[in-house]
């Protein structure tokens, strides 16, 4: 089966993301890459836990002073929802409904931007109200690095999905671009899972001290 071939609903296979050898390679390679990313975040989490609340003096804010559950919860909900909407998008991809896929991807992107906006607000708040900055303490360095790395992943994921949507807007689905959409959505889920850990380890554990 040729990847470039023009597709119709009748010809569209059950797993369009895994039809060609290139697609299978991409699929597996991306899973492995996510394995490496997992170790990367694990290292950042370990560093964070080692440096949590390690500040130079008593006047520095600690985790229990900083974090507020409502904001973190709202961010979690937005990101989880965006994972769900990306599942819808993939559902429509598998059913060869290009327009609907684009629509749900668009919603995913909007939610992603919402998350990023809240994160920027959050950082701004810590810096201006608590003097908790990247350079103020080891705790600050570790916090902004862990959460910021995640934020950078979100930003990269958004740029990626938008590029795919724009690039393929006029030509619809094919076996060539289906794996690209699929892999991007995998990445999006991964970001979401990492956030769940950040929510638990940084925010929830931060609240209990």
């Amino acid at each position: 089966m040729h990847a470039e071939e023009k597709m119709t609903l009748e010809k569209w296979p059950a797993s369009p993301e895994k039809q060609t050898l290139e697609a299978k390679n991409k699929f597996l390679g991306f899973w492995l890459f996510l394995g490496g990313e997992t170790v990367l975040f694990a290292s950042l989490f370990a560093t964070y836990l080692a440096l949590k609340d390690k500040v130079p003096g008593p006047d520095h804010a600690l985790a229990k002073d900083l974090f507020e559950i409502p904001l973190a919860f709202l961010m979690t909900m937005i990101l989880l929802t965006s994972s769900l909407t990306s599942v819808y998008a993939m559902y429509h991809m598998k059913n060869f409904e290009f327009k609907k896929m684009q629509l749900w991807l668009g919603i995913t992107v909007i939610l992603g931007f919402g998350f990023l906006a809240l994160e920027i607000y959050e950082f701004y708040h810590y810096v201006h109200h608590y003097g908790h900055t990247f350079t103020s303490s080891a705790f600050g360095s570790a916090f902004y690095t862990l959460v910021g790395f995640h934020g950078a992943h979100v930003a990269f994921g958004l740029a990626w999905i938008i590029t795919l949507m724009v690039r393929n807007a006029k030509r619809g689905l094919s076996l060539y671009n289906a794996p690209k959409f699929y892999v991007a959505s995998l990445y999006w889920h991964f970001i979401d899972v990492v956030w769940v850990f950040i929510f638990s380890v940084v925010y929830l554990m931060g609240m209990v001290g």
């Binding site: 390679g29 170790v39 290292s43 130079p56 080891a138 360095s141 795919l164």
Partner: protein, 622 residues
């Protein structure tokens, strides 16, 4: 694509290599760049040994010594040993599994260029204010105190080249999982492929901690963070953990492929199948797994406490078991074989006792209590050079002789090869054997000179003499390569005459699509099986058909170049106004070309059946 065989001008050849995505050409690039850095690292080693030849020497200053020492270790590990092994993996592994290319040819090229630009960046430090001087381990307490930009060169250079290594690892994993020829089951894969597989898995899980560690140190040095600044709550031990969680698997990333090379050479020249194939595979996987459990044996004297030390000591000693299995299997392979003593076989035979000695001192070092005595002395230097030179460098030299005909279609001279071997073998033991005793007599590691009358003179002098033997060996090797290349006497598919695996079933060097028809693999050592049944080559598994190949691309080079530019910007940002713009321009080049790559479709091209038949008519001479 018949233009392929025609003679090309120099410019066209350079352009071909700058844009190639062919694993065999990328292998050549790795060999050239890795060989170059090996010579650089070797010269640095010579400077170290000249400085230490006599007491109170002032050949180099103390500060300069630190730079040379740091660059020697860093260059040898990251820019010489690993890339040279990557060269063999690229050249041979796809052929061994009967594949036409790797899974991600584009990423493969990108991986090479990232390594290359990272290495060049690191070495430019010599000309731009001084090299890094905190040791190849770059412990944070030292590196944060180091002035100038040396450490920044280390951090940014390794970050770039490390990204390349990670991509290479993923590419090899997917290639081995997805691209095997019909019948090539996992338990029929040659051991070099198996060790490539496990080493790649180690790369995948070991490099991210290094990436993180480097980021943290970079943030501390260049962006004012406090990860390792104790006064602000930081903790330098975090660096040590991250570094060694990477660092110990790294030594297996180096030595497993070396084991793989010897596991290919020994059966070929013993003319006997590898003894205990499945236990070899099992041992490889087990070593890879245990390799992640032992990192704190580098930190016994840090003060982690007796329980932690005991656990890591026992785990470390456990690795001796699978390694011992391998040693016995190699011996039993030779046992009763009809052995041919070629240059590669010389190295293989010499490797076993040499590496074994490194293993024995390894178990000694693993006893945490005793390590307080050995730690940071020349005993450790002797230990790791016995495993790294006696294992990895011997394997690289053996692999060079063994695979040269497959890669370049012509045999290296055997007499010169054996001269290289003897010089290197004698020089190696002269240099490093005595260092065990220097260490036990109290000579500390990473010291730029020593005093008279402490009983260290003779040992150090002997060691330096040995180093000159190894330098001479390298010169003979280079002469050998030049002579061989000039003569260029062509050889056939199976120049050693006793090849067992698929790479020896196709022309040397292979055509760019490797296999005209994918071979049918009927068991372990597939070519040997066919030979035993009186056949000349492999039975094809498919009819002759069109072959799909990837397009060449300049983008990998540009992506890597962008990061190279950005690294300068990041480093000089605080010193000069142009730093920030250069950082941004560099990143724009990188991300711009990545963007270009993703919006521009690249479907590759097809070689048509007729062209393949054409080439048949022209004969193998082409």
């Amino acid at each position: 694509m018949s233009t392929y065989a025609q003679k090309k001008g120099f410019g066209a050849t350079v352009w071909d290599y700058l844009t190639t995505v062919d694993h065999k050409k990328i292998a050549v690039l790795y060999l050239i760049a890795g060989g170059f850095f090996f010579v650089v690292g070797g010269l640095e080693a010579m400077f170290i040994r000249i400085q230490l030849a006599v007491p109170n020497s002032d050949f180099v200053s103390a500060g300069m010594y630190n730079q040379i020492l740091t660059m020697h270790g860093t260059t040898m590990i990251f820019l010489a040993a690993m890339p040279l092994l990557f060269g063999f993996m690229n050249a041979i592994m796809p052929l061994q599994i009967g594949a036409r290319d790797v899974a991600f040819p584009f990423i493969n090229a990108l991986g090479f260029w990232l390594f290359f630009f990272g290495g060049v960046f690191l070495n430019l430090s010599w000309f731009l204010g001084g090299a890094p001087d905190a040791g190849w381990t770059s412990y944070a307490s030292l590196s944060l105190a180091s002035e100038g930009h040396g450490i920044d060169f280390y951090l940014l250079g390794l970050q770039i080249s490390g990204a390349g290594t990670l991509m290479g690892g993923i590419n090899f994993l997917v290639t081995i999982i997805n691209m095997r020829a019909p019948g090539m089951t996992y338990m029929r894969m040659p051991l070099f492929t198996w060790t490539t597989f496990v080493a790649s898995a180690l790369i995948l899980f070991a490099f991210p901690p290094l990436t993180v560690g480097i980021f943290l140190l970079m943030f501390d040095r260049l962006f004012g963070s406090n990860f390792f600044v104790t006064a602000a709550g930081g903790n330098t031990i975090i660096w040590e953990h991250l570094f060694w969680i990477f660092g110990h698997p790294e030594v297996y990333i180096l030595v497993l492929p070396a084991f793989g090379i010897f596991s290919e050479i020994i059966p070929v020249f013993s003319r006997k199948r590898l003894f205990g194939y499945s236990s070899m595979v099992f041992a490889t996987v087990l070593i890879g797994f245990l390799g992640f459990m032992v990192w704190a044996h580098h930190m016994f004297t840090v003060g982690l406490g007796p329980i932690a030390n005991a656990i890591f000591a026992v785990a470390t000693m456990a690795i001796a078991v699978p390694t011992g299995i391998k040693i016995f299997n190699w011996l039993f392979t030779m046992w009763g074989g009809s052995i041919k003593f070629t240059t590669p076989m010389y190295y293989a035979v010499a490797f076993i006792p040499s590496f074994l000695m490194g293993g024995v001192t390894g178990v000694m070092l693993a006893s945490a209590a005793a390590d307080y005595q050995y730690h940071d002395t020349y005993f450790v230097v002797a230990h790791f050079h016995y495993v790294i030179v006696g294992g990895v460098v011997f394997a690289i030299l053996a692999g060079t002789a063994f695979y040269w005909p497959k890669m370049f279609g012509t045999m290296l001279n055997e007499t010169l090869g054996k001269i290289t071997f003897w010089l290197f073998f004698i020089g190696f033991h002269l240099t490093f054997f005595i260092q065990h005793f220097l260490g036990l007599w109290g000579m500390p590691r990473r010291i730029f000179t020593f005093l008279e009358g402490q009983g260290l003179e003779t040992g150090n002098f002997v060691s330096t003499v040995g180093a000159f033997f190894m330098a001479a060996a390298t010169v003979v090797l280079v002469i050998n390569i030049i002579i061989t290349t000039v003569k260029n006497e062509k050889v056939g598919n199976d120049p050693w005459g006793d090849g067992r695996t698929l790479e020896w079933a196709i022309p040397s060097p292979p055509p760019f699509y490797n296999f005209k028809q994918l071979p049918l693999v009927r068991g372990l050592d597939p070519l040997w099986i066919e030979k035993m049944e009186g056949k000349k080559g492999m039975t094809p598994a498919e009819p002759l058909g069109d072959i799909h190949m990837p397009n060449a691309s300049f983008i990998p080079f540009v992506i890597s170049f962008g990061l190279f530019v950005a690294a300068f910007g990041a480093m000089y940002r605080l010193d000069y106004g142009w730093g920030l713009p250069v950082l941004i321009i560099g990143l724009l080049i990188t991300f711009g070309s990545m963007f270009l790559r993703s919006v521009k479709d690249d479907h590759g091209f097809h070689i048509h059946k007729e062209e393949l038949i054409d080439e048949d008519d022209k004969g193998v001479k082409a």
